[in-house]
């Protein structure tokens, strides 16, 4: 499976990356090399093998929903690029 320029730009949009033209050109070759290498996984017939998403046999941890101390607002906002009052401030939305 090869990735063409149009697909690459679509994936970049999904990943919210505004790639420069020189990056698009370089990535097209590199991504195809990488995808070619990783496509090796398709050589194996694994229709009867279950997937592993996690290396340990752990089950969900349940807790009572009780409020406890968490980050104070000032600390949560301490690294904000921009804030307004007790909120993170972002530019207005556009088309997605």
């Amino acid at each position: 499976m090869a990735i063409d320029r149009e697909q690459l730009l679509h994936v970049a949009h999904l990943a919210r990356l505004e790639l420069r033209e020189d990056e698009v050109e370089r990535l097209e070759g590199q991504l195809n090399d990488i995808l070619d290498a990783v496509s090796k996984v398709s050589e194996l017939d694994l229709s009867d093998v279950p997937p592993t998403s996690h290396p340990l046999e752990v089950v969900n941890v349940w807790e009572d929903d009780e409020p406890r101390l968490c980050l104070p607002v000032e600390e949560a906002l301490a690294n904000a690029p921009e804030r307004e009052g007790d909120f993170f401030k972002v530019p207005p939305g556009g088309a997605t």
Binding site: M1, I3, Q7, L8, V11, A12, L14, A15, R16, L17, E18, L19, R20, E23, L27, Q30, L31, D33, I34, L35, A37, V38, S39, K40, V41, S42, E43, L44, L46, V49, P50, P51, T52, S53, H54, P55, L56, V58, N60, V61, L71, E75, A76, A78, N79, A80, P81, E82, F88, V90, P91, P92, G93, G94, A95, T96
Partner: protein
């Protein structure tokens, strides 16, 4: 006079306990070494002031969140970010043992790399030969320990980022069993693989640091209690231990002859110490491990790195409209390797490709896990080189991402299976350290420490880089 190149953490602790040195003197010795050699080695992205107290100093990889101390993960997108809380491993190091953070060590950006050359702040250099890489991603931590800039350090390992730099710098490094060390407060790369672990000058120091950070954490639901306490290794006898030598991990194409020789000599020593050694095989784990890893890791990374959007912390690009702000922030903030992996991961997870790539890779992961499990019915541990090569020259692999990826060929399979791995130095090739890795079943750290310690004593490797010896 404190010789930071040779002092072990264990010996430093004894000197402090007996009041032969003060905490201040110890700190100053390492700060002196940093002032003297970090200009050349560039191990640290940030050096701290002495927080006071009599605890041992420690270097910390810059993907580990530290309250009040900048944490960049080697990325411009986190430049200036100062965490408002400590990661659990740091909390344990401080509260239980008063460890003092010397500074934050260099890493490939978001721990993506095998040489530190992907750091947005420039590469670190190998103390054995500064024209060569220290390995990566945790090259800063490994070079700091090897160069006498810290007695020990914390690293993080996804596919080899503790073991490989430890091997290239002549240190002892442990990638712990997945789930034994909390990931709370760590900058995430691939969550089903990431583990924090120790880098040290001896197996005993490595085991002790592991005992400090390991154990269940209520802030990380993937952690578990250790089934047994960590035991500091003492004996030099390996009778009753069975060690497997997987053919594919020891005969892989690309293993340098000097590396192979040093590891074979060490395997002979294992037998001399009383261990039973037998050949075995991991046919699909090595052949399909890389392909499996380079799908699962970027897929998880693309998801984890979605949080860097310029809203809550880190870099934000100037833009008048929100989508543009996201895209420009990420375009300007991320370097080439994160972008490459985000693209591969996003593609592998996208509609129409998910089953063929990500879904299939997860099944291969099952195959890898089963192959390893089957060997542990016979063997207590497996042995192989840690890295196919010794430290390579800066720039040698930067133009070819796949050549760089192959640095982790031998460490990746056991990481996929969630297994612990200990790398110890076993000799020199071309004047550079060779690392040997011991892989065990889940939670077998004590076995790895026992074998590693006995082998360490038998080999008698001098961890001080030749050019720095007095």
């Amino acid at each position: 006079m404190i010789d930071t190149l040779r002092l072990t953490a264990e010996e430093a602790a004894r000197l402090l306990r007996n009041k032969e040195i003060s905490g201040g003197e110890l700190w100053e010795a390492y700060r002196g070494a940093i002032d003297e050699r970090d200009g050349e080695l560039h191990c640290f992205l940030h050096v701290c002031d002495d927080p006071g107290g009599d605890g041992l100093p420690i270097a910390v990889k810059d993907v580990i969140g530290t309250k009040g101390i900048p944490t960049t993960a080697g990325s411009k997108i986190l430049e200036g970010y100062v965490p408002v809380y400590d990661s659990t491993v740091i909390r344990r190091a401080k509260e239980g043992h008063g460890l003092r953070i010397l500074g934050k060590t260099n890493t490939d950006e978001f721990a993506m790399g095998s040489s530190t050359e992907n750091s947005a702040f420039g590469p670190s250099h190998n103390p054995w030969d500064p024209s060569r890489v220290p390995g990566g991603s945790g090259g800063g931590s490994a070079a700091a320990v090897s160069g006498g800039l810290a007695p020990w350090a914390l690293g993080s390992d996804t596919g080899g980022s503790i073991k490989q730099p430890s091997a290239l710098c002549g240190n002892v490094g442990l990638r712990p069993t997945y789930g034994t060390v909390s990931r709370y407060g760590i900058v995430a790369l691939a969550s089903s693989l990431d583990q924090v672990g120790p880098v040290a000058r001896t197996v005993r120091d490595c085991a002790f640091l592991y005992s400090i950070i390991a154990g269940r954490d209520e802030c990380d639901s993937t952690t578990v209690e250790l089934p047994q306490d960590v035991k500091l290794p003492e004996g030099e006898d390996l009778r009753g231990i069975k060690v497997g030598v997987p053919k594919e991990l020891n005969e892989a194409e690309g293993i340098e002859s000097g590396v192979g020789e040093a590891v074979r000599a060490a395997i002979a020593k294992l037998e001399a110490l009383g261990a039973e050694v037998g050949e075995c095989s991991l046919p699909q784990s090595v052949e399909y491990g890389m392909a499996c890893y380079y799908l699962i890791m970027p897929a998880e990374a693309s998801s984890n790195l979605a949080r860097y959007d310029g809203v809550r912390y880190g870099y934000r690009a100037e833009a008048t409209e929100r989508l543009e702000m996201y895209k420009q922030t990420r375009e300007q903030g991320f370097g080439d390797e994160p972008k490459r992996r985000i693209m591969v991961g996003t593609y592998a997870l996208s509609a129409g490709y998910y089953d063929a790539y990500y879904g299939q890779a997860q099944k291969v992961r099952t195959v890898i896990k089963r192959e390893h499990d089957a060997l542990f019915a016979t063997f207590d541990a497996l042995v192989s080189p840690t890295s196919p090569t010794v430290a390579f020259p800066l720039g040698a692999r930067t133009a070819d991402p796949i050549a760089m990826y192959l640095s982790d060929l031998l460490t990746i399979p056991s990481c996929m299976a969630g297994l612990p791995g200990l790398s110890i130095p076993c000799g020199l090739s071309e004047g550079l350290p060779v690392g040997l890795q011991l892989i065990g079943p889940q939670f077998a750290e004590n076995t790895l420490f026992r074998i590693g310690h006995a082998l360490e004593q038998a080999i008698g490797f001098d961890p001080v880089p030749e050019r720095l010896r007095a």
